[in-house]
């Protein structure tokens, strides 16, 4: 394909799947007015990854098994979400302050743990640090297959529950009066978001993943005015960003894939903001003219 080596193809495919799932999960977070949750979620994976590495080495493993690291990341993310809920319940702080507290303290803990690992005699945790900003070239086929699988499962779950999720995001109270258990639906949204963050660790990294969640969703909202079409367009924008970003990063040595993917998404958003049929700059300027 395009004269690319096998590894780049694998990475591009995985990044496309991750981008598509991120577009969908990001749309849900945005419509549920929880866009920044992805940021806290991403940063909260770091201590989970570090602890997973430590546990793996302690049990005689290499510390780099993709499944172990992803599981650690997921548990870290979920612990972050749980802390967020706890802080909101116990302390009188605003939502954005609670988010900053969780994001900062989890990322701080993760950074401290990484430093400890690196200074320990058995530690050569260079591979872990790449998860912070993403390093797609270091992806092995296992990483790609897992990322793609996780993304597929997320898309299937959201597709099956799209009607319920639109109800939840539009009018939670009304959903409850229909007898819906909105807490279960909210848990689905958060689980999907967590899975996407974990799937995107290798390619995009945990700092920039929030951008891949939110930018495709924002672009899609400009282009379409309905729920399922918005999720679909966001998935396409996310997938395109994944492919374009990977190819651009492969074209020059040491160009980080995560940054390229997010910049590709931003470029697509820019195009949507200018050219979108009703909400774009061109359409609005034309509409304003007599």
């Amino acid at each position: 394909m395009f004269g690319l080596d096998h590894n780049t193809q694998v990475v591009a495919a995985a990044a496309a799947m991750t981008g598509a799932a991120a577009g969908i999960a990001g749309s849900l977070l945005t419509l549920r007015k929880r866009a920044l949750l992805g940021d806290a979620l991403g940063h909260a994976t770091l201590p989970g990854i570090a602890l997973a590495y430590i546990a793996s080495v302690w049990l005689g493993g290499s510390g780099r098994e993709p499944v172990v690291l992803m599981l650690g990341a997921a548990l870290g993310g979920l612990a972050g979400l749980a802390s967020l809920a706890l802080i909101r319940r116990l302390a009188r702080v605003s939502d954005d302050a609670a988010m900053a507290i969780v994001l900062g303290s989890f990322f701080g803990l993760g950074t401290a743990l990484l430093t400890l690992i690196q200074s320990s005699p058995s530690g050569h945790a260079a591979g872990l640090a790449t998860l912070v900003t993403g390093h797609a070239a270091s992806m092995v086929t296992d990483d790609a297959v897992i990322a793609a699988g996780v993304a597929l499962v997320c898309m299937a779950v959201v597709g099956m529950l799209s009607k319920e999720l639109s109800l939840l995001c539009f009018d939670e109270g009304f959903a409850q009066t229909l007898g819906r258990r909105t807490k279960v639906l909210d848990a689905v949204v958060l689980l999907v978001a967590t899975c996407v963050v974990v799937a995107g660790l290798r390619s995009v990294g945990l700092v920039l993943i929030v951008a891949l969640l939110i930018i495709p969703a924002a672009a899609a909202r400009l282009v379409v005015d309905r729920f399922v079409p918005m999720l679909s367009v966001a998935a396409i924008v996310g997938a395109l960003s994944g492919v374009i970003g990977t190819l651009v990063s492969a074209s020059a040595p040491d160009l980080p894939a995560g940054a390229c993917i997010v910049l590709a998404a931003a470029a697509l958003f820019g195009i949507a903001a200018v050219c979108a049929p009703r909400n774009g700059v061109i359409a609005r300027v034309r509409g304003a003219m007599p």
Partner: protein, 258 residues
């Protein structure tokens, strides 16, 4: 527990709700009559919206019971339709008018079934009733406030419920919408259904409602509109807000005379 009528569409017993220790509703006892349009009237902060939300389980009651046709609401949520305040949702949300009205049919559909022909027909009929058919494919943000309110009413109609709880449907709507809502309310009553409507305007209350609940944290009075909307009862409900009260009372007296 006091004996409450199992046939009452909405029976509330000793309901108390508090937000952070502040009492919002206190010891509310009500048996709402069937086949009537009922107004819930009281000053700002009287707990009118909270009463609806507590009946629907959207806020947790400190104590008390609510039964719908003699049973807890959770036994069969499809018997109750809810029209929330218009401001409670984001009208920029990516849905069309028809999408929102279809949500009224989701209660009977369950989690996985999609709306089919029957649900679509019900949604279109509801839009027709409210004169909103021409707008069915518009994104909801492109509607006026009154039209948005009519979409919420249409969604409730598509629910095909026996009891409706509506939160300020008449708040800041145009005259055409006001008439459309009134027509819907009267049609629901003629079909033997019951509508409980939170309302803030004393002037129109006598015209709109068959039955009125005067509420200010506790129930001041409940009964046929003519008997309940009296000067003394209103004074008791609105308390110290004398200027407002006297003005309203004068208008009421004027309405009685005319």
């Amino acid at each position: 527990m006091k004996g409450h009528s199992p046939t009452s569409p909405l029976s509330i017993h000793a309901l108390t709700v508090a937000y952070q220790r502040k009492r919002v509703l206190w010891d509310v006892d009500l048996d709402i009559p069937a086949g009537a349009i009922i107004g819930i009237i009281g000053p700002n902060g009287a707990g009118k919206s909270t009463l609806l939300k507590a009946c629907l389980g959207l806020v947790t009651a400190a104590s008390g019971q609510v039964s719908v046709f003699g049973k807890p609401l959770s036994d069969d949520p499809t018997r109750v339709g809810y029209v929330p305040q218009r401001e409670s949702v984001d009208w920029d949300f990516p849905v069309t008018v028809l999408d929102v009205v279809l949500m009224g049919t989701y209660g009977r559909l369950g989690w996985l079934r999609r709306p089919g022909r029957r649900e679509r027909d019900a949604a279109h009929a509801a839009l027709e009733t409210l004169g909103m058919s021409a707008f069915s494919h518009r994104q909801i943000g492109q509607l006026s406030g009154g039209q948005q309110q009519r979409v919420f009413l249409a969604r409730a109609l598509a629910q095909d419920a026996s009891l409706y709880l509506m939160d300020e449907p008449f708040a800041s709507v145009d005259a055409a919408t006001e008439q459309a809502i009134l027509t819907v309310l009267r049609r629901l009553r003629d079909e033997g259904r019951t509508a409980v409507v939170v309302h803030h305007d004393l002037e129109s209350a006598r015209e709109y409602f068959d039955w009125v609940v005067l509420l200010n944290t506790r129930v001041i009075a409940a009964g046929p509109a003519q008997e309940v909307l009296t000067h003394d009862r209103l004074r008791e409900t609105y308390g110290g807000r004398l200027a407002l009260l006297d003005e309203a009372a004068q208008r009421l007296q004027g309405a009685q005379g005319g």
